[in-house]
Structures are given as C-alpha cells and as structure tokens.
Symmetry: D2
Subunit: 356 residues, 4 copies
C-alpha cells in the first residue's frame, strides 16, 4: 500500500533514483505462458529514451533492460518479472546547487518537507527517469492484452500551438521527433521549440492516447471505474496537471442532446454515432475507442533565474544548468501509452475474475 | 478490491440501489475518540439533498442518516461506522421504459454488457443517488481532518456561462441555489437553466473545490500522489469527464518561468508567490491551498427523443420522462467537497504512519 | 485496509457491536446472475444461532437476515450485497461490571489499551456475535463456489476428550448438538460439559473443516498461499489459538518418506495415496480434500472469581454472570466452514483472473 | 494483490528463482531517516546462509546483499529499498530429473497444475531460497521497530526429540548449529540428524519465535488481528503446516480458569501472571511477550525412492540426488524471526496511523 506500486491484479512496483546505480521494477500477476523477450520491452524503451533529438534532454542513457526473473525459455511463468536498467550517464555533481536550493515548481521542496531528507542527485525518485519503468511495465501489459487491443498516442499541443485534428494521420506520428499526428505542424513546432530551448526556457504540452479493440464491459463501478483509474494513472505521471476522457472539460458547455452518443444497430451490433464518452460510460468500457488526454506542465528546471529559498530558509535565486527537456511532454507520449496499457490489462483481469 | 470501496487507511464502502429499500456505507479506519453525531453528517447531506430548488430533480428524499455502529456515547470507538439512509420516494414504475431501452450517454448499456443483468430501477448503482453516501463519508472525513483544514466548493460554470473569478466571493456561495461564487452571474444562470429545463434538456458544468490548512508533506509518491488520488476520486463521481489540479490543462500553454510558483521567505516561513501548482508538487502537498476542478457532463436522461437500441438489438428512440436534474453539476458541489475531504483524510493518516 | 474486511476479489466487510442496534456486512465482488435468496443464508445462520441447546449461550437471537442490495429478482447483479441482522435480545445492563473491570483472557483490556475507549456492551466488536456475519458471507461464498465444492465441519475434541477418527461418520454430525462425527462420544461430551457448565466454568475445543471438489491450482504463491490465507482466516475467529493444515503440528515428528504423499495414476488421473498435505502443496491446492483444523480456547467469561484490575488500575476480582457459552468451540464449527468457503471463493476468482 | 508481496504499510515484494541469475526484493513504506547499511542486513542473512554445517544443504551461496535504492548517505529516504543477491552456486543440471517427474510432497505438481509451465531449476519460486529475501526484509523491519523490540527464535523440536523447556537458555541458542535453547539436547540432535542424513532421509521440526518489548495496542480487529497476520506470515513459509500462538493447540484441553491469564498491578502497571495468550488478546498485543510456534514438515527432496508420476501421466519412481537440507527447519529459525519482525513493523505503522 505504500505509493510505489500500481494496479491490482496486474500490479507493478518501481524503485530507483535518477542518479543511483540502477532503476527497476517488479511486475506481478502476469498470466503464464505468454511469449516475452527483452526485445519486446526494449522497443518501447527506445521510443522514450532521452537524447534522440535536440528537443529532449542530452543525457545519454542506452536504457538497456534486463529480465531477471519470471520468464523461462521465452515464456512467462506466472511468477514476478523483475526488470532492471543500469544508470550509465550519471553526473551527481550537476546537482550541487539543487541540493541546497529548491527549484520553483519542482518536487525538491515537498520531498524535503515530507521526508526531512532527500536524495538530491537529479531529483531522486521525483525525476522523470522513473517513467522508464512505466514504459517497461507497459510493454508487458500490451502482451497481456494481446494483439486485439491496439494502443497509440500522439502529442497534440506544444505550448500555444495545437495540431489540427482534421489533418490527423497516425502514420505521421512515427516519422517526426514530436510524435505529432499533423505533419504540417512539425516545422512550426521545430522553430518554436528551438527558440524556447535557446532561451533556456521550457513549455507545456498536451498528449492524447487511445486504445482500440477494448471490448464492452471493462471497469469496476463505482470507485474503480475505468476512467477513474485512468485519471489516477495519467495524473501520477510527472508534471501532469489535467486529465480528460473523451470530450473532457468541454462537456461542461454541451447540452444533453449534443453530448450523449446515440446508438444504432449496424451489422447486428450496436454502434455509437459519436464518441464524446471516450469509450467509457458509468466507468465501464462501451466497446468504442478509449480516448484519454492529459496536459503536461513546462519543465521546472530552466536556465532563467527564479526566486526561491534555501533549505536553511534564506531568500535566493536559482538557475538550473543541467541537461533538461525543453518540453518534457514529448517523452510523455510513450509513458501515457504505457499507463493506458497497464490500466487496461489490470481491468481485463479484474473483469475476467468476476464476470469472465 | 472490488470497486465499491475508496481509500486505504480512511476507507469506506458504499452499497445500495437508487430505488432499492435503502442505501448505506461502512466507514472503517476512523481514529477513536472523535465526537460524532448524526447531525454532523446530516448538515452536509442537506446541502446535496434533491428537490430543494426547481433546478434539481423533484424526487423528494429526506435523506435521514442513521449511525448503526462505531459510535459510543457520542464518540467514535475506532471500529467501523455503519451509516444507512432509507429510500422513501421510490417509483420503480417510472423506469419501465429504460428497462428495455438503453439511454444514450448512460451506464444502462455498459452495466448490461458487463453483468448480463441489471437493476433498472432508477439506474441502480449507476444512479447519482450513490453520491449521498460519499457526502456522508465526507462529513466523517472532515471530522478526522479537524478544524484546521477547511474545505469549500463552488460551481464556476454552467454550460457556456462561466462565473467571473474577479468577483469571487465565498459568502455568495451559500446564498444561491447554484453554489455560485459570483453573485452577478446568478440571475443569468437562473434564466439560462429555466430555459433548458423547460425544453426537457440538460447542460454540463464545472466545479471547483479547494482545501486550505493542509500542511506540506501529504501524498505518497510515485503512484499514490495526492493529485493522482484526487483525480481518481473526482473522476469516479457520476458524469465527470475531466479533472484539473491548479492551472490544469492551461499549463500546456505556459512557459517554465510563467508556470513555476516562485518562493520567498515571509515571517520565517517559505511563501509561494502564486499557486499554479494547486498546492501540490511531485504529488505532495506544498502547504498552499489544494485546488481541484472537474467538469460534469450534461445529464443523459432528457425528454428530447434520441436514437438508441433495445436490449434485444432493435433500433428505437427514447425520451426520458422521470424526475431528473437539468444540471446535475449543481449537486456535484457537495460531492466534490466530500471526495476532497476523503482523499485528504486518507493521506493524513498515511503520512502519519510513515513520517509522523 | 483497516481490519474489518476479508478477501481480495470476494471481499466482505463486517460492522456492528454485540449489543448495538444491529450487525451487518457488505459482500463485494460476487459474480452476477447467481440465484440468491435470504433463505440460502438463513439456513447457515440457523446452524450457528445461540440458544439451541443447553450447551450454548442462552441469549435468544432469531438472527433473521435481510438482503438490502445487490440482488434483483432473485439473482445477484454483481454489485455489493448488504446484509443486516437486528439485535433483539440486548441486555446492556448485564455488562455494568465489565465496563470497569477487565476480564482475564478477554479483549476488554486490549481494546481499551488500543483505542482509549470501548463499547462495553457485551464485548462490542470483540464479541463472538460478529461471527454471525462470517456465516452469512460464507453462505454467499458457497454459492459462488457452486455445488461442485462441498464444505463440511465437525467438532473433534472438547477439553480432554477427543472423538475417535476411526468412528468418523459425517451423517452423525448433524444429529447431535456438538457437530460430533463420533456418535459414541456424544453422551460422554454431554456429561462432561454439563459438569463444566454447572461449575460456571468453560473449556476449549478442536474443530476440523474440509472441502472436497477443489480443483488443483488454487492459491497464490508465495505470500498468499492457500494455506497461509486459511491460517489467517481461522486465526481471525474469536478465541482461536492454533491452526493446522493436513497433518499439521504432527509433521514435525515425521520423516520425509512418512510425510510426502505418494502419487499413482488411476483411471488416467494422478491420485495421491495419502493426504498429509491436507490438499495443499507449495500453497496451491492439489485436488485432494482441503483439511484444516483449529483450536478454540475456553471462553474467558466464567463465573469462577479471577484476579484482575480495573480501568483505573486497582487490583480486584471478577466473576462474570452473563449468558455465555461453556464451550464456544461448538458454535465455531459453522464459522470455520464459512471461513473455508470464503477463502476458497476468493482464490477461485483470483486463479480465474490470472490462469483461467 | 498478486501473491508475491506481504504487509500493508511496511510492504515488501520478492522476486527470483532458485537457480535464476539473482533473487531480490523491494521494501516499500520504510520511514525516512533510519540509519541502514548493507551490513545491517548481511548479519541476518549469514545466520540463514546454507552450507554452514553438515546439517544444512551443501549449496555454497555467499548471499551478499546489495542495496540499490532508497538509502542515501547511510539513511533511509522513505522511498523503496531495492535489495538484490546474486545466485552463485547454480547447477541447473542437477534438476534434469525433476523437470519431468513430480517429487511427492513438493510444489512441483501444483505449480505445473496452476500455471501449465514451471521453471524446474531447483524448484524455481517454490524453493526455500526465496526465504533469503524474507530475512533481508526482516532485518529492515527490525530497524523500523527500533531497539525496544527484541526478536529471538529457537528450534525446540527435531523429529521426535523435543528440547526441555526447563533448560531453556537463550545464550545457548547462538552456540550450536541448531539454534537449540537446550544445550543438553544438542549432542542428541547431532546423532539423530547424522543418522537421518546418512540414510538420505529428512525430518520435521518445531520453531518458536518471540518478541519482547511490544507495547499493548498493536493489531487490527477483526480480520487483521495481530495473531491472524502472524498465522498467515508463518504459514506462508515453505513447508510450514501448523501455527500456534501462546498455549496454541493445547488451549483446547484447558478450562477457563486454567487458560485465562490473571492480572495484578505491579509498580503501577498491570502485569499478567501467566502468558497462555502468547501476548495477544482479541487480536491486539497485551504488552507481554508475543510468542509464536510453527511446525515445519520434513524436506520432500529425499534419496529414498518414492512412487510418483511424470508430467505425461506415467507411473514412475523418484529419488532426489541434489544438495538438500536433512532438516529444513533449522534454517527456518531466522526466517520465522524475520516474519515476526515484518508483521510487527507493519502493525506498528498501522497502529500509529489510526491511534498514534
């Protein structure tokens, strides 16, 4: 019940600090006899890996994952799967300054207030480095879900520049460094973000992830609703400040007849004529695509000097020099996909237990 | 682990259908020797109670709560507190139609898909009636938090009409049927909602709840972050489709130096110069006000005829005649407050266990 | 996570004090579309009900159970089932003495030390009255398990007099007030217990419960082993001080070749030639009968004067006059059966989720 | 919620197979600012380590533990502590035989029935090697409990030979290879066990563990009683078939006035005149020593040929040649101590949360 685990039947626990010797996780509850190799996980880690373009942190981490247990001769055995990634490009010295000053907008302050001690090397547990293990666990969750459930994500807004949904093209997503579904927006984002990067600043973003192929019936009313667990999953990602399902915050301004998705029979099956619900009604999947969006705030580690205080309670200023993402939202795309896969895998097993 | 419970150390479980004999909950983990009477709970139930103005459902429920256990001579004993409310104004016949047709935008469809059976009387468990027990549990959570933590809520948007934050007045909130903090908006909302009500339609809303007096340090990284649990709590409320913390979705368009709340010493203590973080950094409370917003979609039970299908798979139309809220978001204000209190009480106890 | 719930997927929570207005429980996670009526539960409550012979407490409780939710037109709906039993024969005045003096061997002392307050009416939550709701939840668990799993229990020892296993007859069990499987022992126990009862004393007992029809494969290594959960379940029953699986404590004195149950094929299926394992190996069911035994200590409420102290810290003596069981172990037989059913139902669902 | 974790607030998860590359665990919920070094853990691992006398398995494992996270500059940070031990003396070839034949009395059979696959190298997860991580987690639990709670254990019976309680000497325990508290019994056990070892057989044992310094008030009625959790903890240890608290199974034959521990004031505090309760009443600690006993069955891997079947369903015989403990109960002493420490640490935190 302490806070480093997620899920009920598909359940994983992460450990490790950003600049400690390694990070890792233990994934428990995986059904047996599922083919699983390190390469099945590595492919998703490579999507999230830092240093792949000038728009993400220049920390060089190969992020090579090792499976230490739970797999025998290429198949899961039903026992816990232990994964570990060594930290390679560790520079604790970069963090001398933040060991004594709190970065505004960063967890430095609250960790110190909570625990009375913290590991200042790169943010310790509060670092986005922890999300590598979410991606690793998410790769296993995809295996549990099977090929019938397809999970994809895209970056739909950087700062004030939103992708145009009318130009949405899933094929475009993999061919630009932003996971942008709108190819026409890519050069604009490049210019915009180069500018921000050079100024030592940062900017926020919006990510959209979706799952197709989810059957109707997943989700546990009334507190472990599918959307409630998705909201928790996404809000638990570093820097996320808002989560939406389907039409999201916009539903507030809709009227009943605009919002409710009508239904018609088509080839013997009920079909919804729109998807404002984002594939979830009453906390249970409808069979439509599950659609989740979340906003990531701008990185708080910026070069611009900011007013803050020291651990001793003195006024000071801070300007962070380390290697940081100008838009951490970019690398949040594979993380959001992973969390969606994890929530779905957990609910698939829960549904099977009670109603399967 | 089934879905009808919430919280870890302050934990409650609700039961009961909208038109069954009663609804109730069991609240477990309450510290002993806290003064508690039925009237402490009733005061909050009365805020949520239906039929208090023409803008909420006309179902007449006195919502009288009874304490059946866990309290001895006016004090909690540390054992489970069982609460029950009898359903009085039950009209199962109103629901003959929805027993065979699915209401678009309603959980009718998904409950049937999940369980292969459902209690059609007024939505059964999917009815907003369940939220009465959230409010009851929330009243006990407030007692656990003590007088130092003050929780308040307001309705800040109905449909396309948003309250003006510059006119925010907490005193106004209790003096209008909408819990609106902007007195000037009240007559506009009255006209707007009367119109919608007469048309047999409905409309969405945005609620904001906040807690002051929360000390720095509450919240459990990295998955049970305070904001992650708040997101889950709010998204689990009927009809909620979006949740925001502090600046919320808007942070996507901010730059690092705009977003990060700067800090200065004041009277020997660190003070934040803004609150975009909504009182939470790295999933842990900062000591500032905790600020949460959520959007409620328009009620799906409307008089306007809508395309749908029957349980047998035939195309049909439905037009719902029962007694429904034109804007269910109004009664969501005390529910949102309750969920905020519950999440905070749980995290207070969790923090005390590990770091107290 | 507070202590008044049991089970993970089949999960129930009990509430209520021995001499409060009522006791009850909420059973969550029950699969939908299982036929269930109050009479299905009542039949087991009637087995446990006090006052049925001179060998159990003379408190007169009809123990009429009511289903308040989760069942629609005779079938479970998959939503929480709320059960309640009104307390009828309440005599709080009987307990004036124990409100100030601690009964040796009773939870009076520890509840007061833990909570700094207690409900002294009949032991409050510590009373064996709580076990009525275990029996009620157990009746539902049997329904979940289905007719293929048969659960039975017997009293095999009262004080120093043990039933003779060679005369074991399941038909005898229902035809005597002790649930004794050895008809020849019944008159001896009658004389023995009459004697103890007249002396105002009490005595301990051993209960054995078994389940046949459990398939191989239930149980979750390595901490939620089937036997580990059974040990917890039985030890959580009032007054239990020891739990054994299969050959139990006696295995300590066995050699490897005596203890290990050999296997042979028979009609195409593996058959064990003995059952020292009690149907469980490595925490997982083998397909043999699951066999559990537990010892119940003598009731601590006895008429014999005993040395004790008051809540204020003065030496005193206590002699308890109320209506108490001379051998509370008798009524523990249906309780043990219920806990066995509950643990199995929970593990059936857990197994189905991961490996089904 | 899958089965490889234990505890609620002090919670740990183990992973790894007996002959895989490594075993490990993640300990979460540890309070911050507790001094902790690898040597604090190593000292207990060294007690359990195999190959230290001719009476335990000859597998040579240095069992060197490494801390990978959660500790900064010698202090816990409140974040998860990851521990790992490399497997050094791995001989998968020893296990060719058991990959196809089921060892009677071993989990081989049930793992295969449950998962349809298993890692046969040395029993995989079912191996007693997993208990090394219990000992490691237990060492951290002791740190959480602090110096005021002292946990000790002893082996009190091997096969048919029981230690004499009248000669109990805690100083003797550390000076013989059996952890025997009765020095006079040691030579007898040596002869007895040499005999069994040479015959390629094995034998069971009884272990007693106790904790002094536990304050009154720990334990959560009514399902998470301190004794219920201890029963689960001990029964989850490999090969355990019975668990007793205080007078244990023997209470069945006692009368009320013999069993109930009387109380008297002494130096201003209540003192119990005996300890049949084993320090627990109503599931809550009394302040007396907590006393737990458990029986370990004889190792099922023996040289004597035994009837069994193959995975393909053919009758056969098996005789196990590997390196095995003639009395696995010896090494269960530090494991039982660890589980006692873990349960107490968890309940200390739980008590603090609700009543502290």
């Amino acid at each position: 019940m302490p806070g480093n685990s997620f899920g009920h039947l598909f359940r994983y626990t992460t450990w490790g600090e950003s600049h400690g010797p390694a990070i890792g996780c233990v994934v428990d509850g995986v059904p047996p006899r599922i083919p699983l190799a390190e390469s099945d996980i590595q492919v998703f880690l490579d999507k999230r890996r830092p240093g792949q373009s000038r728009f993400t942190t220049q920390r060089k981490e190969p992020d090579r994952v090792k499976i230490l247990s739970g797999v025998f001769e290429g198949q899961t055995t039903g026992t816990p799967i232990s994964l570990v990634i060594e930290n390679v490009d560790v520079r604790p010295k970069d963090y001398a300054d933040i060991a004594v000053k709190f970065r505004p907008g960063h967890a430095d302050y609250t960790y110190f207030k909570k625990y009375g001690i913290r590991d200042p090397r790169g943010g310790g547990r509060a670092s986005a480095r922890e999300t590598a293990m979410r991606v690793a666990a998410g790769a296993i969750a995809r295996k549990v879900l099977g090929a019938g459930v397809v999970i994809r994500g895209a970056l739909i807004q950087i700062g004030t520049l939103a992708a145009d949904r009318r130009r949405w093209d899933w094929n475009a997503v993999e061919s630009n460094p932003f996971w942008c579904p709108d190819a026409a927006m890519v050069p604009e984002w490049e210019r915009y973000l180069d500018d921000i990067r050079k100024q030592g600043s940062s900017v926020g973003a919006v990510i959209e992830v979706e799952a197709s192929g989810v059957p109707a019936g997943w989700g546990e009313p009334v507190y472990d609703k599918l959307d409630a667990d998705l909201a928790k999953a996404m809000m638990s990602i570093n820097a996320v400040k808002g989560v939406e399902i389907g039409a999201g915050m916009r539903t507030a301004s809709l009227r009943g007849e605009e919002n409710a998705d009508e239904i018609r029979m088509k080839n013997g099956a009920p079909v919804f004529l729109s998807n404002n619900a984002g594939g979830i009604l009453g906390g249970i999947s409808t069979g439509q695509d599950v659609v989740v969006r979340f906003a990531v705030k701008p990185t708080s580690s910026i070069a611009t000097p900011r007013k803050t205080v020291t651990a001793k309670g003195e006024d000071t200023e801070i300007s962070v020099k380390g290697r940081h993402d100008p838009c951490v939202g970019i690398r949040a795309v594979p993380v959001g996909e992973a969390m969606l896969a994890i929530v779905l895998a957990d609910h698939m097993l829960r549904h099977k237990a009670q109603c399967g």
